[in-house]
Every structure is written in structure tokens, then in C-alpha cells.
Symmetry: C3
Amino acid sequence: MTRDSAGEPGADDGDSVVYDLAPDCTAEDVETGRSYLAEINGIVDYGVFVDLSDSVSGLVHESVLEGTYGVGDELVVELESVRENGDLAFEPVDVDDYALETVSHDYSLTGTDRLEATVGEQIHLEGVVTQVKQTGGPTIFHVADENGVVPCAAFEEAGVRAYPTIEVGDVVRVTGTPEHREGSVQIEVDGLSKLEGEDAAEARDRLEVALETRAEPHDVEPLIDWPAFEKLRSDLEEVAQLLRRTVLEGRPIRVRHHADGDGMCAAVPVQIALQRFIAEVHEDENAPRHLIKRLPAKAPFYEMEDATRDLNFALEDREKHGQQLPLLLMLDNGSTAEDVPAYETLAHYDIPIVTVDHHHPDPDAVEDLLDAHVNPYLHDEDYRITTGMLCVELARMIYPDLGDELRHVPAVAGLSDRSKADAMDDYIDLAAEEGYDEDRLQDVSEALDYAAFWLRYNSGDQLIQDLLQVDSDDEERHRDLVDFFADRGREEVDEQLDAAMPHLEHETLANGAHLYRIDVENYAHRFTYPAPGKTTGEIHDRKIEETGDPVITVGYGPDFAVLRSDGVRLDIPNMVSELEAEIAGGGVSGGGHLVVGSIKFVTGKREEVIDALVEKMAEADIDEALSSAAPIDD
Amino acid sequence: MTRDSAGEPGADDGDSVVYDLAPDCTAEDVETGRSYLAEINGIVDYGVFVDLSDSVSGLVHESVLEGTYGVGDELVVELESVRENGDLAFEPVDVDDYALETVSHDYSLTGTDRLEATVGEQIHLEGVVTQVKQTGGPTIFHVADENGVVPCAAFEEAGVRAYPTIEVGDVVRVTGTPEHREGSVQIEVDGLSKLEGEDAAEARDRLEVALETRAEPHDVEPLIDWPAFEKLRSDLEEVAQLLRRTVLEGRPIRVRHHADGDGMCAAVPVQIALQRFIAEVHEDENAPRHLIKRLPAKAPFYEMEDATRDLNFALEDREKHGQQLPLLLMLDNGSTAEDVPAYETLAHYDIPIVTVDHHHPDPDAVEDLLDAHVNPYLHDEDYRITTGMLCVELARMIYPDLGDELRHVPAVAGLSDRSKADAMDDYIDLAAEEGYDEDRLQDVSEALDYAAFWLRYNSGDQLIQDLLQVDSDDEERHRDLVDFFADRGREEVDEQLDAAMPHLEHETLANGAHLYRIDVENYAHRFTYPAPGKTTGEIHDRKIEETGDPVITVGYGPDFAVLRSDGVRLDIPNMVSELEAEIAGGGVSGGGHLVVGSIKFVTGKREEVIDALVEKMAEADIDEALSSAAPIDD
Amino acid sequence: MTRDSAGEPGADDGDSVVYDLAPDCTAEDVETGRSYLAEINGIVDYGVFVDLSDSVSGLVHESVLEGTYGVGDELVVELESVRENGDLAFEPVDVDDYALETVSHDYSLTGTDRLEATVGEQIHLEGVVTQVKQTGGPTIFHVADENGVVPCAAFEEAGVRAYPTIEVGDVVRVTGTPEHREGSVQIEVDGLSKLEGEDAAEARDRLEVALETRAEPHDVEPLIDWPAFEKLRSDLEEVAQLLRRTVLEGRPIRVRHHADGDGMCAAVPVQIALQRFIAEVHEDENAPRHLIKRLPAKAPFYEMEDATRDLNFALEDREKHGQQLPLLLMLDNGSTAEDVPAYETLAHYDIPIVTVDHHHPDPDAVEDLLDAHVNPYLHDEDYRITTGMLCVELARMIYPDLGDELRHVPAVAGLSDRSKADAMDDYIDLAAEEGYDEDRLQDVSEALDYAAFWLRYNSGDQLIQDLLQVDSDDEERHRDLVDFFADRGREEVDEQLDAAMPHLEHETLANGAHLYRIDVENYAHRFTYPAPGKTTGEIHDRKIEETGDPVITVGYGPDFAVLRSDGVRLDIPNMVSELEAEIAGGGVSGGGHLVVGSIKFVTGKREEVIDALVEKMAEADIDEALSSAAPIDD
């Protein structure tokens, strides 16, 4: 519809305004019931032909004409009808006295939210280019406006880049026709131009405002009322905003998460929330599959190998599909100094990094490298607020409809990481309302652990969703599968411990704590479930139960040791630093939490390193309140 | 053609039956030479228009009309001609006295076997939905009837699921038009409805009968006459029936086979037979590639890791392509208790499992988990009937045209597994008829072994087919390649044994048997061909030849030992059980055949376990007839 | 245009030659301004219809006709006009006396270089079939003529092989119409026939001549003037010719290169040169991606596993895409006896192998297996001419426009391999002209090493191009990335050496050389950067610097040792042979250069092997000039 200063529709019926179409006006600018100034350009038996603009002309039939007309005469007409073939018929309007108002061509914009309604009609659209993909045929520009992202196909010559000066990030005006194409609405481009100067600035401001508004996270009530969580809420909202914005900008998201129970309880809800939001935003139906990928990380930090691989894939996707480089979302992982080299590798490219983690962070080391960082330790809270708990809320902020499916997930996350959070009871009650008793929650946690081990580097989307009963609809299978995997995992733990326990070396330290050592290379099965970290943890748990006393457990292999303690005031990161300095050629490194962690060394110095470590442990104070009930990463 | 009770074509020429089309009849129901009751609904200069049903009408030209007619009058007519544009012309029929018979609309079905002949015509089809794949454009329903499976494309809106209530397994009636599409005949759907109640039951019964009939295995004469095989024949026929049925139902098949000579001699023929049958059944030309996949398994049992990976792929294929979950076909693998955890994992999903194996089975453990199980031990036969021998016959039951290509394969299978079957001579004679002397057969077997090692987790389809000379047509290359791989393999065995033999420890046991021990971790090359199992086997073979006496050979690494024996009455599964009980913290497990097998333990207890094992071996009776000439799985 | 003996265009205006079209002539054979003999075959009110050949006929309008004509009369006409619908109009020509010349149908060929200009017109083309791909629709024949390769789509029936007797390698004549299709020009085939006998021989000769001409390498001036290089120049030209010819013939190329700095400096330029040449030759825009693949090889020789994998992929590509088997291009790898088994595996298939390497070759072992072999040692030069230096020139011979991007690459290659070539100064000067000082070149080299380690089996195309600043356009990122990777790599080397150096065992040999031994399994971190080879090399370098004396360094693991020496006249290949003979059951193998290399053995004989080796080293002469500054392959 034409917009001009003459007023709103309804105000212009039969009044004395006559419109004068600008030369670039098209038939689209002609409104029924309005009077237009026309010029006669041809006279035939059955009427006269009139021009309203360069491209708008039509017939006034002799039956409605009165008087005589010559070519070049002016005539005030209004639209009578549009024939099927697009021909226009006008009829004369009898006005003596009128005000003439010029009508500019209507370049008013059609938002991506109204494309379905305008299929087959030429429209205009303004937005930011988010992807430029050269196909064998047309060039596909993905353009994001205030409402969504739409692929726009421009054809220059087969396989030849159309509009070669237009790049990702440019603000453009697209003129074209929305069409259905392979399940998506796509715009067939008639014209595409980059906005410059003020136009661009104005459009960019408008889009920015809209984007920020649209990116705003949903204001959801947390599943439970929990003061400790409130401290982190605004941080999470910032991440939700950032992730929603990333989706709106058409940038892919790559999720790397810790491959354990809590990590999966964190990553799966966020993945599903983002997929649903992507589906809502993007006209391209393959977008949810192409724009988000979840990948488990085996190590408790972001390894250089993974970073190199991620970068490699990202660069290839940019090369092949013209995609933007992705945002990296680290979940239940990524807060520590060990992540720095990998982060620095990516920092050379336009790859924002966002981390939600509950492992003890090294904020000084990572803060500069992160676009957002959520970690309970940054707010005087600790690992007891697990990443899974945080991410369930994050998922709901991103896409709140997901809420009901997720009510049991924080409890699983908490049990997986043995969280002693005061909120655990509430979470367990919440899960109970959904029919999950504590045993089943524990089973889900064990089952996730077991499945993650065998999936190795695969995300195993459907299987994990079946185990976690999220975006999965066969309740019975879920139950059976959880039972089976949990039982199976426990059996294999038992087998492992049957082999290992007789080889446990025990001593009572000077401080009275029990020290148990186990050589997991020689006295546990290798390359099978449970891995050394979990094996050590399980041994430790049994010994705590058995003794009730302060216990330290060390599980060591050729060049590493896993440490767990309860009731002893250890400071493992500090011990590692001391050992590093004290033992020349020991190649000591490592870390973790205060009372639980791991340490690496060169094989040939194992005995010396472990002996020195034990000596330090013997000097630590007893503090029965301390517990290593945190995730052990193997 | 219309079917009714009036009789067969030929009986209705010029007789006094006049047909009355039911209102839903279409032009398809009108037959030349038959008289139909029509009603005049219009009169024009050049004739009268008549209606035969709601949608069948046409002109009776004035030139063939006599008398006067009024609108609404009845007229008996027969079809004169069908114009190019589909218009019908009728001519009056002069009948005074006639019997009126109602004609129902012909919903008679066109089978998938007649689609090529009906391209471009509307047809009806009934069948079971085997796959529902949502594409970016139409929804593709794969429908199986008595004769085959055809993709049916239904378009609702681009990327929108058509007929959303229709699911895999439903019996449906499809009305549509067969068209060529990318090498397949595909039906463009005009209508698709789920049959309910009696209709569905009837159709299902009809399809079931047809399916069972069509699934019936071919009744082929075994390649050789062999009483022992006869015992297994009906079991194999059952498997052939099940596999053919699986193909007819459009369910994918995933083959996991032991990655050795016998395993490949088993899996390759079955793979090719199924591919050819799939090509015959499915209109979709990509079906053979999409519906069957062969994968070697490194371990002598179905590992949890493989099962998790298989499940993961299956769930993804269901998600992405709407495929049914697959049938798992275990070949030369899968009969033992060690397979149970993996089987149980799959049991939670609709994944039937079929096993053809000749390793010593644990029927009690696996039987409940298998849909079919063929194993010579279940019929008082043993490993000498190798899986390759069985599967060549299975392949011929599935697709008999394959027969001639396979005549040399059982001999290769037998030699690979050192089968001492009485049928070996016949198999070797059969191979000789095809130009394979025993040396070449042995070379093929060695070459397969060598290639399998380097292919690792790849199936290497074409290379293996070239080596096995099945579905491969360059005889000379086959010969050269076999020579080269066999020689190369032997050279590497020699190199390995050059290193290992000097480190062989010998002792004579109390029962007089020679015991040879070799530390394959320290005295053989690692990560290269031959692997520890084959290294041990080759050492054993040389020692038997050298001594002629009863020999036991133990090849051990850090946490495993491979055992072979000849002439000693061992019961390895029993020994393993005893060791498991006797050695606390030994982590002992394992098994195999009676006189050949392997054992695992924790590294730190290796010496104790092996010493205890040797003690037991020393007590075993000598029995020169016993041979470990069975496959050693490394 | 029709060609005949009557002379050139211009000679035939208005002269007395009248042309008689042969019956198979088409409208294409009719030239404006020429006189043709026609026969009247119809007379109508408005003129007469004439036939010029079986398929050429048209109207002579009555307005231009004089006199009376009868059907069957001859008439001399010339073309008046061609209507939009293709109808021809002729006008009579008044000639009394003329010479009649027969015109044959013009089958003159249109080269693939003129397809764009003939889109939409029927043309003829002769060439060799390079690929036959059966799609679901048409069969695609890729046909190479003197100028390029074009896909020709022939449709028989959907998914059915058209012209089933035509195979790769046949010389064919294609009649068809060039059309744009998915970014490529493709010929829609009207007819395709195999040339036989003399025609084929003639065409093949013509194509061969053209191919050889077109394959000719560019005659580029080497980047620097270097007499030593001149000896290898013609060998490289031969390889350039062979590779260009391979591209022209449409055969894929698979590059396997040493995964170190020099290997990447060699492979990346050649890859890019070939990609650009492929893009130029092939009409199919995906050809550069489909026809060349670069893969790093971890071992310093072509492993059986890689060869089996390469063969497997090649056979699958042939099966799925009808591609020819590839040419294998070995770079910075492939000259030694260790490559023979892998080469022999491929030798059974049509896979030419070309090697450019600067490691000490075993020409007797490999020569028969290679189609071309460039190695400085074959011309009394040595490793100091690095493969990267050679391949930069090779790349320029293949595609000279690449020259300017590559001017810094030889210096990187040389520094990576510590080349002491006299040309190094010139190369470094050349790089300096491009703004690379020696520190930065060294950094690039270190960065490549570090990236290669983490990329593992991935080629990492874009990342490596960014590091090497070839086909990459962000100078600043290049610099930052190189700095970061180089620093990071050095840090990790330092960490490794901090652990290792205190465990270095030192002794002074009888010949006065320092011997350093390091147990890299026990005193270095495993599975991390730097790997054992580089660790040993770095230790060695430090010790040379420290002592200034002749130094030998041995880094050993469980079953291998890496050897480096400076200033000692070692002959490592000979030592390995002696040890192999002397130490029974040692499983000794290995080799390398004279003064640098590696050795393998069985774990259990490590001490004995290394002691014996040291003994031999102690007897070696001191020769300060000798340096192990050659690539150490780990």
C-alpha cells in the first residue's frame, strides 16, 4: 500500500485529493477508490488508453467515457478492475476542484514474518547479510531483518557470484518475490543493493534495536526458589540474550560440553532450546541442523586438538557454505587456565566464546578471552550449583515452552555431580512430581555416564535424549533403557572393583587420614568402563562408607594420578605448584578443585612425585566438613 | 478394467445387459462395447450431452441420433471414441429389453510390479508404509505391496508433512500416478488413506500371505552333498526367509561380521545377494546402497562400543530419513555370552537380531535375544562347518543367480578357519573346477587376512571383492593382487617370527605336552601385522610341525593371553572360571573354544594368572586327536 | 559454416558456383549469399516450396517468382531470411551457367573452449571419455578434447545407462547442445558414437598432440638463480607435464605429503596450482574439489594402512562416480624402500605414482614403481634442496600466476628442514622482499609444525593456508596466528625439555663424541607436542650449541629410537643392517639418512640393541663438517 502524507485509508474516499504517481510508481502503488491524474496516450474504437506513470497504464472503456478526448489530455481516473492478465481498467472520476498530491513509489518493507502471506508478490526487505553461499546456480544471500532470516536467491549466471561486492555484514535492500522452495520460503531476487551512509546507519540502528529487543531472554520464573541461584540469574540472562542474538544473526553455534552426566544435563536442554528457536527464526528448514552442533569433550578442559578441529571445520564451512564462523559455547567446561591455549587459538578468528561452568575457575586467565562467563565461584558460590541446573534455566530463558520437559533434569545433574546444594531437595521434589523418584534419578545419572563412555566422540543425540527423557516420547523405553544402562554400568564398576580392591594399598597418614593408593594401570582393566577417574572415585566412596573417617584416595597410572579426598583440608592446585617447583624433571602439571583433582608427571618420576604428594597430604589439616563430592574428570 | 458380477469380457458383447455406472465412477470405468444407461443433460445444435455418472459425460452427435430428446430423458449409449483432450463421444444403442446392472467404481489395484506399464496413468495401490521421509518438498511414503516397494510423493506444502496421521506400519490405499523420477518410478500421490477395520485386516492378511510367499527362500541344491549340513539347512532357510522378508518390508539391514577370512567369505556373498534382491524389490535405485551396510568387527564378539555406534546411526537414520530401525545380522560372530550386553542394549529398540556363527555358542545366554540363530553346535556339529560355508548357501537361498560366482568361496572359508570338515575335499574339488587349486585358495585366505588387518574398520567392499573374486571381473588382477597380498602377509609373518622365536620359552609339562610361551608385547612388533593372536597361532603351527607332539602355546601381553593347543584335552572356558574364582583381584575373564581361546586379566596379576593356568594345563589329559585348528581371534 | 573445396567465404559471392546440399545437410549448412540447387515439391497460392536436402526446405514467395513452375522442377535459390520459428524463405537466383558443387554436411567440431559462445546451438565435439557417471537421471560422460573437459548428459531412461558400450578411454564424437547447468556448461547429448578404426586413430593422434602441447609446463624462470637446482629442472618439468596432462585427462590426483613444514611448503603450492588449472580446464565447477585431495602422512614413508585406505577410496569413487582411478603424488616422502609394499599394492590398479622427495632415496627399490621420480640425490645433490623449494617451482610450472604468492615459501621450507643450501641466502632475501624477515620465516616454520601436530590426519586447508599466507588474504591474522602458534609451540617444547633434560644420560665415546641418551617414554610427556622425534632433535640442538663438539643424541621409547648426530661420520642405514644380522630376535629395522635416522626393535631387546648401536657409534670417525640438520621424522 502506498504511504503518503495525505492521510490514512478511509480518509481519502471521494474527497478532493487527486494523486499523481511518480514516474517510478508501479501498479502496486495504485489503490482502489483513490483518484489519480492520468494522461491519454492512445485512442481506439473502444476507449482511450491512459498513462498514470512510466509503467502504469490502462484502458478507460468508451462506455464509461463522456465527451471527446485527445492524446495528451489529462484525465482523473480511478481503478475499476484488474484483469486476470494484469491489465488495468480505469474509469473517469468527476472532480472539478482538487488538490494534487504526488505519490512516491512504495518501497515500504515487508518483514520476514510476512513472507508466507506475500508468496508470489514482489516485496522489499531490508536486513543484514548473514551468509553468502555460492551454489552451482544462484548465489544465496541469507538476510536477517527484525523478524527472522530468509534466504534470497540471486542469479547472475550459473555458478557466478551475483552482486560480488555484497558481503556478510552488509545492510542491504532486497527487492524480490517470496517463493516456496524445498520447504523454505526463499526470495527470488529482482534487485539487491547495499545501503550506504545515512540509510545504512538508520537501517542498522533500526535492526539493532529490533534485534536487541527480539534477542531478549524470556523472563521465566526459576523452577525452584533458590537464593544462591539468584546471584547468577542476570549472568545467565546475558548469555541467553547473546545466544538468542547469535541465532537471530544467523551465526552457527558449536557446543562443547563435558562428557559426563552434568555436562549432558546442561548441553542437551540448551541444544534443544536453540534448535527450536532457530526453527522459529529461520525460514530455511535445515537451519536447526546446520546452525547448531553439540560435541562431547573427553578432557575436563578444551584441548588444543579439539580447538584445532573445531577451527578447521568452521573454516571449511565458511569456505564451502559461506557461513559465518561460529560462536563456541562451552558447557560444564572451560573456566580454567588449561583452556587458554585453545581459546587463544580461536581468538585469531571471529569466534566469540561463551562459557557456563561450575568448575573452579581461573577468571584472570580466561576472562579476557570470553564474551560471557557464568560460574558460581564468580559469585561466592561453588560447584554445588551444577552446570546442568544453570543450563536448564538458560534453556528456558531461550525457549520457555521447553520448561515442562525439563523439570527432572536439574535433579539428575545434581546427583551426577553429587551436589550437596541445599536446593537439591527441592529439585528432587520437582522431579518426583514428574514421576522420578530418587533411585530413578540416580539411575538416569549412571546410565548417562555409561552411555557417554561408549559413545566416545559421538553426541548420540537421540540415545541421550531417550535416556534423559527430553524431546523423547516413549516413556517405557526410557525406563527400560535407563534400568539396563544403569545396571550394566554398575555391574562393570563391580567387576572393575573386584579386580582393583585387593590391590589397594592402605596407610594412615600422620594427620590421621586414611590414604588409599591404587595402581589403575596394573590393577584395573584398561580401555573399558569405568575409566581410571571413575574407578578411583568409586573406590573412594566405598572407603568413606566403610571407614567413616577422613579418606584420601589416589588412583595412579604411568603418568597421571587422580586424587579424591574427604575430610581433609587439601589444596591440590597449590600442591601441584609446589611439586612442579620441587621436582626437577618431573614434568608435573595438573589441578582441579581444592580437595579433588588430578596430576600429571613424566612416567619415570612417578614414584617420587606421588611420595612427595603423599607427604604434603599427611601435613594437611583434618576438616570433616570437606567433601570431594564433586565431579571427577577422567 | 471394471469388474462386476455380469461376467467376463467377451460375454457382454451385444447382449441385453445395460450397465448403470455408480455416481463415483470415472471414465476409467467405461468399457468399449458395453452399453450404459445415460441421462440427457443438455441439447445443442450438434447433438445432446449425456451423463453416465457424476464425472462421466459426453456428446452424442446429432448425426447418429434419431428422434427427439428432452433434457432428463434416459438413453442407452456405448462409447464411440475418446478425443485427444479426453472428451468422450457416445453413440446410442438400440436395446428394447435389457437387464440393468450397476457398476461400482473400479478401485482395482495396480501392483508395484506393473508401475512401469502405467507411468502417467492414475492407479490405485494398497500396501504397508515402510518409511516416511519428510523432504524439503513433498513427504515421501515408501509403500510395500505384494510385489515390491515404491516411493509415493505427497505434497501438502513445501517441507510440511503430508497426511500427518499416517505412520510406518499403517496399511494404506494410495491413488496416484506413477512417474519416472531420478531413475526410480515414483508415485505422485493424489490421495492416500489409511485402511481401517475390516478393510485393513483384509489387506493386511492379503499382504501377509503374499509377503510370506514372496519371502520364501529359493529351494537350491547345496553346492555339495553333505549330511552334516543338512541338519542346518532348515535353520538357514528360516534366516533366508527372514532376510528376504526384511527386504520386502523395506527395513534396512546392518551386517556385523568377524573381520577374518571366514567372516568375509560369509558376509560378502550375503551382502551381494541382498543387494541384488533389494534392487529387484525396490523401485528406488539407491535402495541397495541405503538398505544394507556391511561392517567388520574387530573383536570376536559384539562390543558395546560397536552396538552403541550402530544404535546411534540407526536412530539418526530414523530421524533424518524416516527409515525403520535395522535388522542386525551377525555373521561368524555373535553366538556367545560376551555378545549379551550389546544385544541387550539393542533390545530396547525395534531391532531384530539374526546370528549365523560357528563359534562355540552359549545358547542359554543369547537365545532369548535372537530372532534366529544358526550354529552347527546347536545340531551336534562343530566349527568345522564354517560360517562361510553356511553363508554361501544362505546367499544362494536369498538370490540363487549368485551361485556360480561362489563355488570357490566355501573352500576359502574352510582353509581360513583350518576346517577339518569331511566336506573340505568336495569344496576343494568344486573350487578346482573353477580353476582354483589349493595353493591359490590358501593364498586368497592369507590375502583376505592381510587386507582385513590394514582395512581396520573399513569394509573395503571393492578390494575384498577383487580378492575374493566375487562380483569382480578382472581375473588377472584378482590373481596378481592375491599373490601380492598373500606373499606380503607371509613375509611380515616371517619377520614377526624372526623376532619372536628366539624368545620362546619352552618347558615340558607333567602330562608330556610341550608348552611354549611368548611375550608378544616385548618380543613381537606392536601395532603391525600379524597381530598377537595370529602371531601366537603361527608359532604354534610351526612348533606342531617341528615336534609332532602335543603342544600348547601361550602368547601373552600386559593384560591378555592367547591360548592354542593340539593333542591336549583342555577345557579353557572351565579353566577361566576356576581362575576367576581362585585369583582374587585377578580380574580374570575370557573363554573361547575348549582347546583354543583367550584370557584377560589385570596387568599386575599376569604372572600369577599364567602360572596358575599352566599348572592346570599340566594336569590335562593328552588326546592326540584334539586340534586347535579353529579360528584364533585376536 | 560449411567447408568445402569451392573456396573461402568471399570467393563465392555472385560467381557461377551453385551448391548442391548432400541429403544429410541441415539448415546449419546453408550460408547466406550462396546459391543452392533446390527442387520444387509443392505449389501454393502464395509461392512454391522447395527442398534443398532431406531436411532443408522453405518457401519462395510468389512476389519474387517469375514464370511458371511445376512440382519436381529444379530452381537455383539463395537464402532470403530465417523466421523466428526457424522457417526458411528463399529467393530465386538468376544463373544460366554454373558449376555445381556438392556440399557435405558440416560435422566440423566445436572445441570445449567455445561452448559458452554456442550455448543453445547444436554442436559437434570429439574427445576422449574421461568419466562415465550414471545418475538417477541421465548418464554423464565427461569428454576431454584439445581444450578442456566437458560433462555430456545423455538420457536413455531415468537411471539407465545410455550408450552402454561407451567406456572411459574411448574416443567419441558427441552431437549435442551446450547448456548452462548448475554453474557448468554441460552438453545435452543428441547423439554419441565411438570412433573406430582410422577415424579413431586420427582423432586420438590429434588429441594426443594437442594434449601434449597443452600439457606442456610453463617455462618459468626459477625464483632464484641456482646451479644445483638446474640439474633437477628438467625432471620437474616432466612432472609438471605429467600432472597437467593428468588434469587434462580428467584423472583425479591424490597428494600424500610429509606432515611437517617442508612437506606442507611442498604440497600446498602444488595443490593450489592444480586446483586453479583444474578450474581452467574443467567446465564442471566442482571439479577442483572433486579432482584433487591433499592428505598428510604421519609416517616418513607411505604406510600400508594409508595405501589400503587410498585404494579403498579410489575404488569407491570409481564405483559411485565413475571416476578414473587417481594419480598418487608423493611429496617430501616416497623415495625409499619402505614405500615399496604400499606402492606394490597400488601397482595392481591403474594408479600412476609420482614422487618428489629429498630424503635419501633407494632408487633401485622404487624406480620401477614410479612414473616419475624427482630427488636431488639422483643428481648428486642432497636434502639441502628441500622438497618445498622444488615444489614451489613445480607449482609455478603448472600455473605460473601463482608465482608472487609463493616467493617466501622456499625460505620457510628451507628453515623447516634446516637446509644449509647455498641458495638459502637468496631465498631468505627473496622472502625479505615480501616482508618476511628470518625470525618470521622461522616462526612460520614452527607454527606449521605445531599446527600439523594438532591437525593429525586432517589437511586443515584453510588454517595451513593462513599460516603459510598462500591463497589467504588477511595479512594481520596471518601474522598474529603465526606468532601465537610459534610461541605456543616453543613453550610446549620448553615444557617438554624441562621434564626431559634432567634425565639425559651423558657419556663421552671412544671417538671423543658426546653421546646423550634420553628415555622419551619415561621422561617426556606422551601423546603431546612435541612428539619423540622433535623432542630428541631439540635436545640435540641444545647440546650442540652447549658443547660445540661432535654430538650424538639418542631418544628411545619402548620399541624405537630416534638418532641424531653432528660431526660424526655415521652410516645409520649400514648400522641398522649390521644390527639386524647380529642381534637374533631383535626385530631390528629402520634407516634414514647417513647421520640421522631411526631404528625399531622389539621392546624386550631394547637395551641390547641400543648398547650395540652405541658401540658402533663409538667407532665412527669424527668429521666436524657433517650435520644432521635434516628433517627428523617422528
